[in-house]
């Protein structure tokens, strides 16, 4: 295995927070959930304080409980393009009802607007067929078989223009070299798409493809196609095992595991003291009790979270984490203390002050 890179730090922004009662907190800004200001404040803070990726969950379905309603994730990512500088923007786009041709140009266009910071988390839609009235509900096998094809179509469309296809040759009057544009001529079980894309090849060539390995069907697609694979695990040992299994499966699929990052979910709530954090979460549970998440979880301070991240890095439990704030506003407020510092990035410990009294 090659030398381990820095731990990738992502954050998933889900409404007012991953906890369904998070909107009831006084600081939740639930009234602003459908404004640009709400989303920009969280995304630009993540960008400013050095997080690598922001994930934007999406679905056509209404949440069963909590703050209801959802803006479209690609729209939110595009809206944040001009206000961010470094962070990768990764909207979810479900493929069950949406045309891969549209997905391809939408994600490519986020890549253009961000000069190469776009990704796409592939998801499927369950139980939402009645919203479209076009086809019957599909089982998991069919949903992921279709998603597999959709990723193939989207990534072929991204390649359908060679990078130097635009020539602007005044002598011959040709704007493009048509020989550098390619019909993809994809014919599968769920789609047939001619191509080429209407959108030139985006800055990254291929924006980052992210897939959550949640079950055998999604895992099979993830190990064949994803640049970033998301996993959930109950503890560090389980995370390390999940990562090892995913890497083995990637290798078995004929791909280099070192070119795939495995990110583990980490539910998080931060407060000034550990006691406060525990009290906060207890209050959320009083408002809306939730089931055991069976996911890595950190309820404490920014300092203790930094220690946990260090352990995840040291133990190889993940190439990175996706922080899932139980309450977004509280997390955003704590971000300055979490900011990855240069010493962290270089893998150097924070030195003990030589003048400080020792215990």
């Amino acid at each position: 295995m090659t030398a381990r890179r820095n731990l990738l730090l992502g954050v998933e922004l889900s409404g007012t927070g991953a906890h369904p009662a998070s909107w009831r907190r006084p600081d939740s800004r639930a009234e602003e959930l459908f404004t640009a200001g709400y989303w920009l404040d969280a995304i630009t803070a993540a960008d400013r304080y050095g997080l690598d990726l922001v994930f934007l969950p999406d679905s056509f379905a209404l949440q069963p409980v909590g703050a209801l309603g959802r803006l479209e994730a690609v729209g939110v990512a595009a809206r944040a393009a001009a206000a961010t500088y470094r962070i990768g923007l990764i909207p979810q786009v479900p493929v069950t009802h949406t045309e891969p041709f549209h997905v391809s140009k939408a994600v490519a266009s986020v890549d253009f607007a961000t000069l190469g910071r776009a990704g796409w988390e592939v998801t499927v839609s369950r139980g939402q067929s009645a919203l479209f009235g076009r086809k019957a509900e599909q089982d998991e096998v069919s949903l992921w078989a279709e998603a597999d094809e959709a990723v193939e179509v989207v990534t072929r469309l991204w390649d359908s223009w060679e990078d130097d296809a635009e020539i602007r040759d005044a002598a011959t009057g040709r704007f493009i070299d048509r020989d550098k544009l390619h019909y993809i001529d994809y014919v599968g079980e769920h789609f047939s798409v001619k191509g080429p894309s209407i959108t030139p090849r985006p800055p990254q060539g291929q924006p980052i493809v992210v897939i959550r390995a949640a079950d055998p069907h999604s895992t099979a697609v993830a190990v064949r196609r994803a640049d970033v694979i998301r996993v959930a695990a109950a503890d560090l040992a389980a995370a390390a095992q999940a990562r090892a299994e995913v890497r083995a499966a990637v290798a078995a699929a004929g791909r280099d595991p070192d070119r795939v990052s495995v990110l583990v979910d980490l539910d998080v709530h931060l407060a000034a003291t550990e006691e406060n954090a525990v009290v906060d979460v207890a209050q959320l549970e009083v408002w809306t009790p939730t089931a055991d998440p069976n996911t890595l979880r950190h309820i404490g301070t920014a300092d203790t979270l930094r220690e946990l991240l260090g352990r995840i890095h040291a133990t190889g439990a993940g190439d990175g984490v996706v922080l899932r704030p139980l309450a977004v506003a509280a997390f955003t407020a704590a971000l300055p203390k979490l900011a990855p510092r240069l010493r962290d990035r270089l893998g150097l410990p924070r030195p003990v002050d030589r003048y400080a009294p020792t215990a």
Partner: protein, 453 residues
């Protein structure tokens, strides 16, 4: 128009000069049609000029000519809604309008996408709903080219009705009652059943600032006019000449009453290009130069081939028109509106005109593809634009610059102040939403102050 009355206000929109044959890419001042900076430049220029909206066209399949990808004009554009959402981040008042096809998108997706744009832009979204029925475009989509031509307006109307039903799905914005733990009244199940759609379920967004995004419509057939009168907030027209425009204006505005709508509920905005010069003669010379850039020798032949339906590459673009008759191949160019339904008649007419006026192939194509164009000094152009609006030929114009991205700079710097001096154009934005810029009513705030739905 008596000067004692308040002058009718000119509405202006800016078309992004991307993929079309009027965009000049050979000019040294021509920049990228795909880099986001180009969109930022044009949008900010339009906003500096206090325009109503920025407008982005769409195409869902690259054009082909003689079965190969057409390579003479600008090719390649980004996703419409993505660009508009991104532009909402670099503008504050400008309306953001985009063409989205009703054939290759589903109502639930459209309602959510335009609802999102309207929320994230603070009420500046507009949708130019177009229809498509051709199998050529359909080859990029799983539905294929399934739609009968005759059904395209039926489907378009149903798509719009369905999206409006979804937008009405929440009776009110969320009410956040933390103490009682109530986040809004749960949205009702929307049920929309029609010839083409069976939609059932809750919508995922509360009402957006404009209620419904502004609906734009293009289309000149009787069907298209009726559709616009019934549903649209503004119509793009191609009736450039004054009298022609006045007839169209009377006809379309006359159709509104039967839908319970008034003259101000539908704006008529023709597309127009313009060329400015320091003197009238200078402007004319520049206009001739631009037309020759737009119609190069290869482009002239490609246009001619659209009518002749055959390879004419052996002909000299600076020579006379071919004396051979057109072939029956009407599909020689695919992916854009066909020029001629009866190629022989068009060919005969073009030959007669070329002979009578002594025009070469290229000169003839330049003549027959001319569009509405304002050519003159800034004062002259402002006066002409104003004359059309004061005399009920239209409510304003969608300006189509020929250069990306700086094509609007001179208009905003020189013509807008002239219009303002005439009292025909705003000197500041007075509203925040596009509906307010256009003087349109909010669909849910009727004169009685009650929600229409």
């Amino acid at each position: 128009m008596p000067d004692t009355q308040v002058r009718r206000q000119v509405h202006l929109a800016a078309h992004f000069p991307g993929v079309n044959n009027t965009t000049v890419w050979r000019d040294p001042d021509s920049g990228s049609q795909i880099d986001f900076d180009s969109f930022v430049h044009l949008a900010r220029t339009a906003e500096r000029g206090l325009f109503d909206f920025f407008f982005l066209a769409e195409g869902l399949r690259l054009r082909e000519h003689r079965d190969r990808i057409h390579d003479l004009d600008v090719v390649g554009r980004p996703d419409t809604l993505t660009v508009l959402n991104a532009l909402a981040g670099v503008t504050t008042r400008l309306g953001l309008a985009g063409t989205i096809n009703t054939t290759y998108n589903e109502p639930f997706e459209l309602a959510r996408q335009f609802g999102t744009l309207d929320h994230l832009s603070g009420g500046r979204a507009a949708w130019n709903a177009v229809t498509s029925s051709d199998a050529f475009t359909g080859e990029n989509f799983r539905r294929g080219g399934y739609l009968e031509h005759a059904k395209r307006y039926t489907r378009a109307a149903e798509v719009i009705d369905a999206t409006r039903a979804l937008w009405d799905g929440w009776s009110a914005p969320p009410i956040v009652d933390r103490d009682r733990g109530i986040f809004t009244a749960a949205p009702a199940t929307v049920r929309f059943h029609s010839d083409q759609f069976d939609i059932e379920g809750p919508f995922v967004l509360p009402p957006s600032p404009q209620g419904y995004p502004v609906l734009l419509q293009a289309g000149d057939s009787a069907e298209g006019r009726e559709f616009a009168a019934a549903k649209a907030d503004a119509i793009f027209s191609m009736h450039g000449e004054l009298e022609d425009g006045q007839q169209f204006y009377r006809d379309v505005k006359g159709r509104l009453a039967k839908y319970g709508r008034s003259r101000d509920d539908l704006l008529i905005l023709p597309a127009a290009t313009y060329v400015l010069g320091d003197t009238p003669a200078d402007a004319q010379e520049r206009a001739r130069h631009i037309r020759r850039q737009q119609v190069g020798p290869q482009t002239a032949l490609a246009f001619l081939e659209q009518v002749w339906g055959r390879d004419l590459s052996g002909y000299d673009p600076d020579g006379p028109l071919p004396d051979v008759d057109p072939a029956d191949n009407v599909n020689i160019t695919r992916g854009r509106v066909r020029h001629a339904k009866d190629p022989r008649a068009v060919a005969d007419a073009w030959r007669s005109r070329a002979e009578a006026e002594g025009l070469s192939i290229r000169e003839l194509i330049i003549a027959v593809t001319a569009r509405q164009q304002f050519v003159g000094t800034p004062a002259e152009v402002a006066a002409e634009i104003d004359r059309y609006v004061q005399h009920d030929a239209c409510d304003g114009f969608v300006l189509v610059p020929h250069l990306t991205p700086g094509g609007l700079d001179d208009f905003v710097e020189k013509v807008v102040p002239e219009l303002q001096d005439r009292g025909s154009f705003r000197t500041e934005y007075t509203g925040t939403t596009l509906r307010e810029h256009l003087g349109l009513r909010h669909p849910h705030r009727t004169s009685e102050g009650v929600r229409a739905s």
